[in-house]
Amino acid sequence: MTSLLATASSATFPVLPALLVVPSAGALFILFLPRTRKDLIKLTALIFSTTTGALSLWLLSEFDSDSQSGMFQFVSRQSWISDFGISWSFGVDGISLFLIILTGLLFPIAFFAVDPEHNERSYFAWMLLLEAGVMGVFCALDLILFFLCFEVVLVPMYFLISRWGHGNRAYAATKFFLFTMAGSALMLVGIITVAFLHAKNLGSPVTFDLIQIAESQTIAQGTARWLFLTFALAFAVKIPIFPLHTWLPDAHTEAPTAGSVILAGVLLKLGTYGLLRFGLYLFPEASHFFAPVFLTLGVVGIIYGAVVAAMQKDLKRLVAYSSIAHLGFIVLGTFALNTEALQGSVLQMVNHGISTGALFLLVGMIYERRHTRQIDELGGLQHSAPLMAAFFTVVMLSSIGLPGLNGFVGEFLILLGTFTAHRWWAVIATIGVVLAALYLLWAYQRVFHGPVEKENAEVADLKTKETLVLLPLLALIVFLGIYPKPVLNRMENSVKALVVHIEEHVSEFEEPVNRYSQGEINSKESEKGHD
C-alpha cells in the first residue's frame, strides 16, 4: 500500500537521512577538536552546516515539481524497532521541501554571522545537533521518529539560551523547556494511542508509519478529535498560539543572536508544520471540526501580538511579539483549508524565517555596538550607520508586508484564501496589516530617526562581513516578492493533495473556492448568448 502512495525517488543516494547524519556527525566531530582552536571549530561547524545546506539545495534541484500526486519523494525506509513497527522513515513533499531549504540556509548564515562569547566547542556542537533535530522533524514520516526529533530540539536550545544567553537567561531557558515539554508530553500519549488503535481497528501489526495511518483513517470520529487535541496542544505551544505564547518573548530576548535567529526562523515552524502534517493530514475530520477555534485564535494572535509589540520597550521583545502576529497569519491560513490560504501559509513560514531572521541579526548587530536593546536609549542611528538603516528599512518593509517584497505574497494569499472560506475572520485579520505598519515604523523612528547623541553617534556602520551575511537574505526578500512562482509551483500539488485528502475524509467538507470556480458566474457575453 505504501509503495503506491509514495512515489519512488529516482535518486539512489539517501539524501534525507544525510540531512540528519551530516550535522550530527559534525557535532560529534567538533567534540574531538581541541577546545582552544576556536577558528578551527568554527570552520568545521561552517563546513558541516554548509554541506547540509548544499544537500538541501540539491534536494531542490532533484525535486520533481510536476509530480501530479503531490506525494512524498526521496522516501527512504529502514526498519528500526520492528517489534513495535517503528522505522527510520523519511520523505519530503512540496510542503516540507522549502522548510528544509530554509533550515539548510539559515544555520550556516547564523554560524557565519555570530561568534559565541565563550565555549565555542560546545556551542557549535549543540547548534549542529539542533540542526539535525530540525531536519529530522521536517523529514520524518514515522510518528515516533518525528516525536524524538521534536523533543531532541529542546535540549540544545535549552543550553544555548541558558549558557550563551543574556540577562535573565536561566529563567527564560527553563520557561522555554518546561512550557514546550509540558505541551508535548500529551502528544506522546496521543502518538501511541493512534498507532495502537490503528493496528487494532485493522487487525494488523502495530505501525507508526504516518502515511499508512493517515490514509486509512480508521479511528472513530470522537476519539480522533481527542487525539487531535493532544497533538494540537504541543504545536500550539511551539508556534506559539495565544494564550500559550509567553515563553516566546523571554526565550527570544534572552537567547544569543544566533539562537534567536534559529528560534524564530526555524523552530517556530516546527509547530506550524506539525499542524499541517500531523494535524490536517493525520486528523482531517478533527482539524475541520476545530477549525473555527484555531481561526479565532489565529486572528486574536494577529491583533494581540501587534498591539503588545507596539508597546514593547526592548527592541528584541518587540520583534518577538511581532512573530506572534505573523505566526497568527500562518495559523489562520492553515485552518482556512483551501489551496490559496494553505500555499500562503507555507510560503509565509519561509518568509517569516527569512525576514525575522534578518531582523534578529540586525538587532544583534545594534546590541553588539550599543550593548543595549532599550529603544529609548537608541536614536538617530541612521546618521551614524546609514547602510545598516537601509538594510533595516528593507527588512522592516518586508515584515510589514509591502508588495514587491516577500512578506506580502504569503500574507495576501492567506487573507485571500481565508476570505473565500470565512470572510469575517479575514476582514478582522486584515487590520493586522495596519497594525504591523504601526509598531514597526514607530520602532524604526525611535531607533534610527531623530537627532543623534552621545554613544549613538559613535555607532559604526555595517562591516563587510555583516553586509555579506545580510545580502543573501535581502536578495531572497526581493526575489520571493517579485517571483515567488518557483516556490509556489513546487508546493502546489502537495497542498492540493492535502486539501483533497481532507475532502475525501470529511463528508460535509468541500474546499471553499470562489464563485467563479464554482461555475456560478458567467460572462456577460455568454448570458447574452442565452437570450
Partner: protein, 632 residues
C-alpha cells in the same frame, strides 16, 4: 509601438538600480542628472507609445502586455502585466512629463544636501512605482505600485529625519494610508471571491453578470473608495497630507500634489465598469465626500500662514473636486482636472520652493512680502499658477473646474453650490498667498538681530521647469474645450477606457453659459475681497483668519488626542494584561508547583522514625479500609 509600453517604467527602474549601486560615488550633481535623464527617457517612451496609439483605430487602443506570472496559487493567478490604454497612457504622460521637470528642478533645489544621491534614488523609485500603479493590468499590481508610492512617500517625507517632526509626519502618512489599504485589500478579496480574477479586463467582463448582486458591487466600490480616501487625502483620512509637507518641496510637488495623491481618483476611474453597477447611494456618497472635503479644506487654507500648508490644504480641496467628479460619473472631467491640477499645483509648489530657497528656508507668509522684483521669474510664473488654480478664464483651471461644476449641478444643485463657494474661497486664499508673498512691503528683515536674508532668484535648473509648467497652466485647457463635441478631445481620447459608462450632461447650452458666468463672478468676488483685504487693507483680515480655521477645525488635534490618550491607554492595558494575567498565570503555575513540591519535601526529611510512622499509619489505614469493605 504599443508593445514598447514596458519601456516606460523600465527607465526609472534602471535609474533607481544604478543609483543604489553607484549613487554614493557619482554624488552631486551627476546622480541628479542621471535620475533626470531616466525620467526623460521614460517621458520619451510614453510619447512614442502615445503616438503609436494615436495611429491606431480607437477600438484597438487597448493592449495587455504580460511579462511573467507573479503569484500563481490554486485558483488565484496574477501576472506582472501592463495595460496600455488611453487612460493609463494619459497618466503616464503627465507623470513622466511633470516628473522630469521636477527631477530637473531638484538638481538645483537639493544642491549641497549631504544626501543628494539618496534623494534621487528615492525619486526614481517613486516614479517607477507610480508608473506601475497606473500601468498595472490587474488590481494587485496596481496595489504594488500603490504601496510602493506610499513607501517612497514615507521615505521622502522623513528625508530630513534628524527632526523628529519630519520622522513623525512620514510615519503618520504611511499608517494613515494603510488604513485606506485595508479597504483596498477587502475590495480585492471580494472581487476575487465573486469573479475569480483580479485582472481588470476579466473583472469588467464578469462584473455585469446577473449572478453578482448589486449589494456586492456596492460594497466593492465602498471598499475601494476607502482606499481612495486614504491615498487621495479625503475626509477623514486627509490628516496625513498637510503634515507630509515636512518633506523637501519637490517631493510635495511631485508626490503630494501632482501624482501620488491622484491615484485614488485614478483607481475609481479605472474600475468604472464596477462603479456603474453599484447602487446610486454609494456613488452619491463619493460625490458628497468629495464636495465636503473640497469646502472643508479650502476653509482651512484661508487661515494658514505656512506657504506650503496653504498649498497642501488647497491640494486636499482640489482632490475633493476630482472625487466629486468621480461621484457624478464625470470621469473625463476628473482626469481633465487631474491633469490641469498637476500642471498648476506642481508649478505653485515649485514656485513656493523657489521662494523658500531664495529666503533661506523661511516658510512663513507673514515674513515674506514684496518679493516680486527680487524673484521676477518665480513671481511671474507663480502668478500664472494663481490665475490657473483660481479659475480665471482662459487659464487651464477654469475649464476643468467649470466642467466639474456643470456635472455637479446636473447631479444636485447643492453639490454645485458647495463647489462654487469652494471656488470663491480658492480664489480668495490664493490671492492672499500671492499678495503676502510677492506684493506689499518686505517683512523679512524686521528683526535686527536675525541673519540678513537676501532674497534671490533661483538657478536656471529651477526656473526652467517653472516656465514650462506656467506655459502648460495657460494652455492646458485646450485638451477639453466645452464648445462642441469636436473640441472635447480628451473625452474622445479616453472613450475606449470608459466603456460608455460616463454620465452625460443633460443641460442646455444656455444653462452651461449661466453656470460658467456665475463661476467667473464668484472667482471675481474671491479675488476682489482678497485684494481689498491684503493689498489695499480695507477689510480687516481677522474676519477671515479665524483661529478655528487656522487650527483646521481642531479635527487633527482631536484625533491625535484620542490616539495618544484612550488609544494609547488601551494598548497599554492589553500589554499589562499580557504581563500580569497571561504570563502571571504561567509563573503562578510554576510557583504553585514549587510550593506544593516544597510542602511534599517536608515528608522526605530522612528520619527513619518518620518513615516508620508513615508506614505504620498507612498499614493501619489500609487495614481499616479492607475491614470496612468486607463488612459492608
Amino acid at each position: 509601438m504599443l508593445d514598447l509600453v514596458w519601456l516606460i517604467p523600465v527607465f526609472p527602474l534602471m535609474g533607481f538600480l544604478t543609483l543604489i549601486c553607484i549613487g554614493r560615488k557619482t554624488g552631486e550633481p551627476a546622480s541628479g542628472w542621471l535620475a533626470t535623464s531616466a525620467m526623460a527617457g521614460s517621458f520619451l517612451s510614453s510619447l512614442i507609445v502615445f503616438v503609436g496609439m494615436l495611429s491606431e483605430e480607437s477600438e484597438n487602443r487597448q493592449t495587455v502586455f504580460t511579462l511573467f506570472d507573479w503569484i500563481p496559487a490554486g485558483d488565484f493567478q496574477v501576472e506582472i502585466g501592463f495595460l496600455a490604454d488611453p487612460l493609463s497612457l494619459t497618466m503616464c504622460l503627465f507623470i513622466t512629463g511633470v516628473g522630469t521637470l521636477i527631477h530637473l528642478y531638484s538638481i538645483g533645489y537639493m544642491h549641497g544636501d549631504p544626501n543628494f544621491s539618496r534623494f534621487f534614488t528615492y525619486l526614481n523609485l517613486f516614479s517607477f512605482s507610480m508608473l506601475i500603479l497606473v500601468l498595472g493590468d490587474n488590481l494587485l499590481l496596481t496595489f504594488l505600485g500603490w504601496e510602493g508610492v506610499g513607501a517612497c512617500s514615507y521615505l521622502l517625507i522623513s528625508f530630513w529625519f534628524s527632526d523628529p517632526a519630519n520622522a513623525t509626519a512620514g510615519k503618520k502618512a504611511f499608517i494613515t494610508n494603510r488604513v485606506g489599504d485595508w479597504g483596498f485589500m477587502i475590495a480585492m478579496f471580494l472581487i476575487f471571491f465573486n469573479v475569480g480574477s483580479l485582472q481588470y479586463l476579466e473583472i469588467f467582463d464578469l462584473i455585469g453578470s446577473n449572478e453578482i448582486a448589486q449589494t456586492t458591487t456596492t460594497f466593492i466600490v465602498l471598499m475601494l473608495f476607502i482606499g481612495a480616501v486614504g491615498k487621495s487625502a479625503q475626509f477623514p483620512l486627509y490628516l496625513w497630507l498637510p503634515d507630509a509637507m515636512a518633506g523637501p518641496t519637490p517631493v510635495s510637488a511631485l508626490i503630494h500634489a501632482a501624482t501620488m495623491v491622484t491615484s485614488g481618483v485614478y483607481l475609481l476611474i479605472r474600475v468604472n465598469p464596477i462603479m456603474v453597477e453599484a447602487s446610486s447611494w454609494s456613488t452619491g456618497l463619493i460625490a458628497w465626500v468629495g464636495a465636503g472635503t473640497a469646502l472643508f479644506a479650502a476653509s482651512i487654507a484661508v487661515a494658514q500662514t505656512d506657504i506650503k500648508k496653504v498649498l497642501a490644504y488647497s491640494t486636499v480641496s482640489q482632490l475633493g473636486y476630482m472625487v466629486l467628479a468621480v461621484g457624478c460619473g464625470a470621469y473625463t472631467a476628473a482626469i481633465f482636472h487631474m491633469v490641469t491640477h498637476a500642471f498648476f499645483k506642481a508649478l505653485l509648489f515649485l514656485g513656493a520652493g523657489s521662494v523658500i530657497h531664495g529666503m533661506n528656508g523661511e516658510q512663513d507668509l507673514r515674513r515674506y512680502g514684496g518679493l516680486r522684483s527680487l524673484m521676477p521669474v518665480t513671481a511671474g510664473t507663480f502668478i500664472i499658477g494663481w490665475l490657473a488654480i483660481a479659475g480665471v478664464p482662459p487659464f487651464a483651471g477654469f475649464w476643468s473646474k467649470d466642467e466639474i461644476l456643470a456635472f455637479a449641478w446636473d447631479k444636485n444643485p447643492v453639490l454645485w453650490f458647495i463647489g462654487l463657494f469652494t471656488a470663491l474661497l480658492t480664489a480668495f486664499y490664493m490671492t492672499r498667498q500671492v499678495i503676502l508673498t510677492f506684493f506689499g512691503e518686505p517683512r523679512y528683515s524686521n528683526d535686527s538681530d536675525a541673519d540678513e536674508i537676501q532674497p534671490h532668484e533661483s538657478p536656471r535648473t529651477m526656473t526652467f521647469p517653472l516656465i514650462v509648467l506656467a506655459f502648460l497652466s495657460v494652455v492646458g485647457g485646450l485638451i477639453q474645450l466645452p464648445f462642441s463635441s469636436s473640441t472635447k478631445w480628451l473625452e474622445h481620447w479616453l472613450e475606449p477606457a470608459m466603456f460608455h459608462n460616463e454620465t452625460h450632461l443633460h443641460l442646455s447650452g444656455l444653462t452651461l453659459w449661466v453656470l460658467a458666468l456665475l463661476a467667473i463672478i464668484s472667482v471675481g468676488v474671491g479675488i476682489f475681497v482678497g485684494i481689498s483685504t491684503y493689498l489695499k487693507e480695507k477689510i480687516d483680515k481677522q474676519i477671515f483668519e479665524k483661529p478655528i480655521l487656522e487650527n483646521a477645525w481642531h479635527f487633527d488635534s482631536t484625533v491625535s488626542k484620542i490616539m495618544g490618550g484612550p488609544g494609547f491607554q488601551a494598548f497599554e492595558a492589553i500589554t499589562k494584561f499580557d504581563k500580569k494575567v497571561i504570563d502571571g498565570a504561567v509563573d503562578g503555575t510554576g510557583q504553585f508547583v514549587k510550593r506544593t513540591a516544597s510542602l511534599l519535601r517536608l515528608s522526605q526529611n530522612g528520619l527513619v522514625r518518620t518513615y516508620a510512622l508513615g508506614i505504620g499509619v498507612g498499614a493501619v489505614g489500609l487495614l481499616i479500609w479492607f475491614l470496612l469493605r468486607t463488612t459492608i
